[in-house]
Symmetry: C2
Subunit: 550 residues, 2 copies
Amino acid sequence: MTKAQDELVFLPLGGSGEIGMNFNAYGYGPPDDRKWIVVDCGVLFGREGSVPGVDLIVPDIGFLEERREDVVALLVTHGHEDHIGAIPHLWPALRCPIYATPFTARLIASKLAEAELTGKAKLHAVPPGGTLTLGPFEATFVPLTHSIPEPSALLIRTPLGRVLHTGDWKIDEQPIIGPGFNRSALEKIGDEGLLVLTCDSTNALVAGASGSEESVRAPLTELIRTRKGRVAVTAFASNVARLDTVAKAAKKCGRTVALVGRAMKKIVEAAQNSGYLKDFPETVDEELAADMPASKVLYLCTGSQGEPRAAMTRIASGDHQSLALGPGDTVIFSSRIIPGNELGIFALQNALTALGVEVLTAEDHLVHVSGHPAQDELKEMYRLVRPKIAIPVHGELRHQSAHARLAKAMGVKTVVPGVDGQMLRLAPGPVEAIDEVPFGRIHVDGTVLVGEGEGLARCRRSLSFAGIIAVTLVLDEKFRVAAEPALVMEGIPDEAREAVREAVENTLKRYRPKRDGEADLCELVRRAARGAADDAWGKKPITRVVVTWV
Amino acid sequence: MTKAQDELVFLPLGGSGEIGMNFNAYGYGPPDDRKWIVVDCGVLFGREGSVPGVDLIVPDIGFLEERREDVVALLVTHGHEDHIGAIPHLWPALRCPIYATPFTARLIASKLAEAELTGKAKLHAVPPGGTLTLGPFEATFVPLTHSIPEPSALLIRTPLGRVLHTGDWKIDEQPIIGPGFNRSALEKIGDEGLLVLTCDSTNALVAGASGSEESVRAPLTELIRTRKGRVAVTAFASNVARLDTVAKAAKKCGRTVALVGRAMKKIVEAAQNSGYLKDFPETVDEELAADMPASKVLYLCTGSQGEPRAAMTRIASGDHQSLALGPGDTVIFSSRIIPGNELGIFALQNALTALGVEVLTAEDHLVHVSGHPAQDELKEMYRLVRPKIAIPVHGELRHQSAHARLAKAMGVKTVVPGVDGQMLRLAPGPVEAIDEVPFGRIHVDGTVLVGEGEGLARCRRSLSFAGIIAVTLVLDEKFRVAAEPALVMEGIPDEAREAVREAVENTLKRYRPKRDGEADLCELVRRAARGAADDAWGKKPITRVVVTWV
């Protein structure tokens, strides 16, 4: 018997077909003895409309959990929630060491501490550019540029070829924090021969280039300079370069920065502890800022996405503990709108407008640049690293598809969009889907993890559409009705409630214990109640009928 | 006693502070004997996240219902749902005659027929440019340009001054359907002296101009020409000019149009019956189109907003009765994204992509222009009609506020954004808010109208977040527990269900009928159940405890 052949495989369990919840695994070895490394472990944020009551969604990684002893490491490209947010929820299933650059590691450490996993999870900080040997893999953290410090692609070397997994990136010559985009390092990777590029698709539908972080500096400064009242700027807290830009613009305009919101203070501290923001202008407490002249202060606030509990939302609803804005004041949204957040953000902007505040956004002013590669940047990446195989990941299907077209146009021979749960053999031989592994989504529902397939959120979505009728029948041992039925109805208009009550009573009146059985009675009552609601209201509530016996 | 003075007043009951649900009233006469005309009567579409189970929202017009005999007419500017959609729901409260131009009247007639109000509601078609005398008012339908045939501003003449209420409009020199924007007619209105301009704010945050419908023609034709497979174009059915553009582009490319979706067929029929689309190319039934070569057919489909039951959604999910798309085929979204519909539309585009279809949108290609005035167009309107008073309506607060700034910059002395429920005296004397009338929103919930204040949708939203626990206790006349409690729990994970069941049982075990009363027992059980859910799950479901007696 010949020894089974070594293979290099790729298996995404999250982050393909959507933006968020990045979770990718690379395997190496013969089919029955593969070692795995995982790249990123992120969350997707729940949506009230589709999955009500679900804050976060994480991937189902049962396939790897079963092979836990063969998972040699979790490598993290950067510190955004869609790349690190699932670590507290999923690390207990893997229990492998975690590797990340120092700033990213600091953010992960904070998450582990909150989940009381400090000390249990082995977390290692790797310097940007650092290389690790992990079982059959050698992995190098290759510095890129993005909208958070220390974004790193992972160059994964195996005996069967090398993979560059980009994580999130853009081309930024002057990213403000950290070194500029390093073309020659990438070109060298190309020169040495690259088998696979696994790459960010987020902006593959956007023509041109994303623009440098530096380009925001002058317009933002000019905008602040024209303002006389209070100015508040809201931005993604993790965008440390933007915080620096805003703080320096404020200083140039004679304003002192007050940090507002927990995440804002936390990230500035993490950045400074990692050696960034060394010349960040001195800040003032928000309480003290309240006593300063309006033209001398700039508030840097969380809540650019209209998050219900964030600073900006509380300011807009007038119940922030120390900060009140009104006529003559300005709020600048130095951020993009994450799809799905439109109505919440517009409601926030309307609430600020109602206070008399002038709202300025990236729609009208150059106060934001994207952190993801637009088409020109993707093309440049393909020119630099020249992969034999391109795997578009991290994007909805429409983005992955546009990315695939671009990669083909750039002359990449094999282009295979990543598909969650689909195991691709990258080498040896032609790329081939060799397995479909069980995968799915897990809802973080309150404090409990619930598989999407269990339908809990779907059930609540039904409740939100047509409410519920719960009928309790009290029967004696001869199946006779022994008490008035008890009805609980929620989310149902009065007209329908009356009709349901009547229908249940009529059904019980017509009921003959000897003729009809208990099971039949429940079904008769259920149909009568649901039908009455439908007749009166045009909707069919969830209807439950239970029996208790005296 | 002197006779009370005549006043001209404005009262919006919908459409200020949001885009949709336009409902505006103008009153004339002394305070105790005012006559009213209503301009437009539209709906707002419900949102699953905020008002689950609510399809449509209409304004609460109780104030005018109480004065029904003094409401002399409903005048309708154009046929979009946010201007006519509430007529079937609210006309019964007003019972006044309805006036609109012929195409708009045809759409209204169809709505009245569906609501079985034909013959009851007196509906009058007025030719574009036509003038009516309505009590103390004289009203002229002034042709404008917009994204539907026969858009009309209303010039309302009273002894105290004249009002131009624009409805929706843009400046389009070549609107394809109907005459181009008539500057001289508007200039003449300005020359004759205009007291008030009540004007569309939708695009007041957009720089520049919206662009002519004609500008879409060439790019759309070129795009279709490059396609070899089937092409489907989805657009707003009411945009009759766009339908004409698409059909003619199809013809130029040797393709025959098939209309797909009920609304599409209905609007083409209504347009042709009103004398439009006379040279609309001959269409083919969708069933027959299925047998034609892929390169010879173009499908014009409903569903550009990802509406669940519309043609495009059924095509994408592969369950359309006669139309299947796949690799090599193209779908063009010749439409904008209505805010709030982003995720649904992207899901639709992803589903089409998954079928292998290439999706082209207004993001990348000039296949859509807006129907609302951007800043340059608003400025032009102010230059032409030169009102003494500007009332920005029809827009969220952020749009109304931007519109107000623009109007002031254009030299309008008095700028007062419309506020729903606020009655403004426009003349005589300076503009002044003289009354706040009760107003609000009414939900079309199934087949029932429910006031927003009743909280029915809010209750269902709570259900969607944390589900429900319904406990039925069976007690005898001595308050003793006479049967097992019955529990219905929905939307609650297993862990919490177990904990709740146990908590209820323990509470009943500790219960002493003589010591504790019934009311107390219910409250004890409610708190125990809710607390157990919170402990096990971190959420507090709606909890109802009811008693039935044996």
